[in-house]
Symmetry: C2
Subunit: 292 residues, 2 copies
């Protein structure tokens, strides 16, 4: 096996001769730009990420190249991160830390999360892990997926669920269906006491609409770990929106994550080299790994 | 039934004629100071708090007056608050909020809490609720109580458990045994990667020793919701210790808590008026409600 490292400038030259492509940098769009179309190309592309939106171009979708992802690695970390945000918002932790900086002792009441209601949009392994963790905290949780099935609501139920949710968690893949789904109308449907959390992809959210919803108090608060443009630029109005927690796309990245991603690729490579079927195969039309 | 409201200045004059005393302000030491000793006195004292350290004076301990507490009201809120702090520390949330203020995008790795280890000191209902919530998050949790029994470690196990804990949670009542138990030696036993959380009483901790432990990096971080002196004065060095979250004794106080405390007292009062036995009776020698 010969291994070649590529960056955005050398990828196009290397792809035609490659059998396998490992995409390590999920923030790069280099694959989409360098993909050789109908010419010689890798038979297998693995991305060390849960989302595949950064690499799917029409030529790759239409080809017989197999695409796999890092399904499983991020489930638990992202679920914990969502729990951290939900609890921090319920317990008013950002305000506590702000008062601490001012050396001000100000007792406040906070919210109990047990008995509250969450809607988790995205019924893949990450969404299910988020749902499981919130359920363990006593939060009544509804999962919403692309199609309704046992334990999962279909899109038709979404607005009704949003209207009574205390917590709305976006954990869906970015597809043509989910792009911009959290828009002004959907923030308007939510309760004034609701909080919105996005750990999926920035483009699920119309950021201007969220900003408006927070400024006008259509909802109480939000936390974004992903953004339309990453890194968020210093002049973005999102940094100091009232009630918004901004974090730098880190929800899934717990100590050791790179090792786990590397080991997962090696395991898949061994299957591939032995001519055996690969797990985690992305449905390129849907834009994610379909599951139960 | 006649109800009289008392404050610190009028309590001593009213106590001899009272049958029942409801202590609503847990931060006040007025009962200790006004208790009539051997003279006429209330037959029953209820405190709208979990801890009873603020009212037990030798004369009350030695009397036949029954003392009850608000056992049960704070369990779940405090457990959620501890989970919020543990997750915030694991996910580096204070630093994320500080970077947000500076409009700085800086990706970091955080810690997974699943698979880490916690020691919860205090095996009453609050300690057990904390343990249950951490266990639900995948944290391996050991409970330490005054005496070892099924599911609870005795004090002899404490140092050994501290030496391998990622999270040390103080949720014990303040008694002559627990006062100052978290001292320089105990912080020295903990791992450099450990975090310490106190939601019990401030006097469980030798605050200077904790400050030293944080400054010298004997432990990585801490969160205090309770303090030797409350409110914490603006000139306290605790406000800006490295790695320390300061909150104003609010862990149990979720919306509706005062109503719940009031309803609980009414329920106990009805039992008392009917001459029936009261629940939540404090063992005044031990300083808490003994349980299983």
């Amino acid at each position: 096996m010969r291994v070649k490292h590529a960056d955005a400038s050398t990828l196009a030259g290397l792809l035609p001769a490659a059998d396998v492509l490992l995409v390590w940098d999920f923030a790069s769009h280099a694959v989409r730009e360098a993909w050789p179309g109908e010419g010689p190309r890798p038979r297998w592309v693995h991305t060390a990420s849960a989302g595949v939106d950064h690499l799917l171009c029409p030529e790759l979708v239409d080809s017989d190249t197999v695409v796999t992802n890092a399904r499983g690695i991020f489930d638990r970390p992202v679920a914990e991160y969502v729990a951290a945000l939900v609890l921090a918002l319920a317990k008013d932790l950002p305000r506590t830390l702000a008062l601490q900086r001012e050396r001000t002792w100000r007792h406040r009441e906070s919210r109990k999360v047990a008995g509250t209601r969450a809607v988790v949009v995205g019924s893949g392994p990450i969404g299910r892990a988020v749902s499981g963790t919130l359920t363990a905290l006593g939060v009544g949780t509804a999962l919403v997926g692309r199609t309704g099935r046992a334990g999962v609501h279909g899109p038709d139920d979404l607005d009704r669920l949003l209207a009574r949710a205390d917590w709305v968690i976006a954990a869906a893949p970015l597809t043509s269906t989910t792009r911009g789904m959290f828009d002004a109308r959907r923030f308007g449907v939510m309760q004034p006491s609701a909080h919105f959390v996005n750990v999926g992809r920035g483009q699920l959210v119309v950021e201007d609409a969220l900003a408006e919803a927070l400024r006008r108090r259509w909802i109480t608060g939000a936390a974004l770990d992903v953004f339309e443009t990453e890194p968020l630029t210093p002049d973005s109005p999102l940094w100091d929106l009232p009630g918004l927690i901004v974090s730098p796309h880190m929800s899934g990245d717990t100590a050791g994550w790179r090792d786990e991603l590397g080991e997962q690729f090696v395991q898949l490579y061994e299957l591939w080299a032995a001519g055996r079927p690969l797990p985690n195969v992305v449905d390129k039309q849907l834009g994610y790994v379909p599951g139960h």
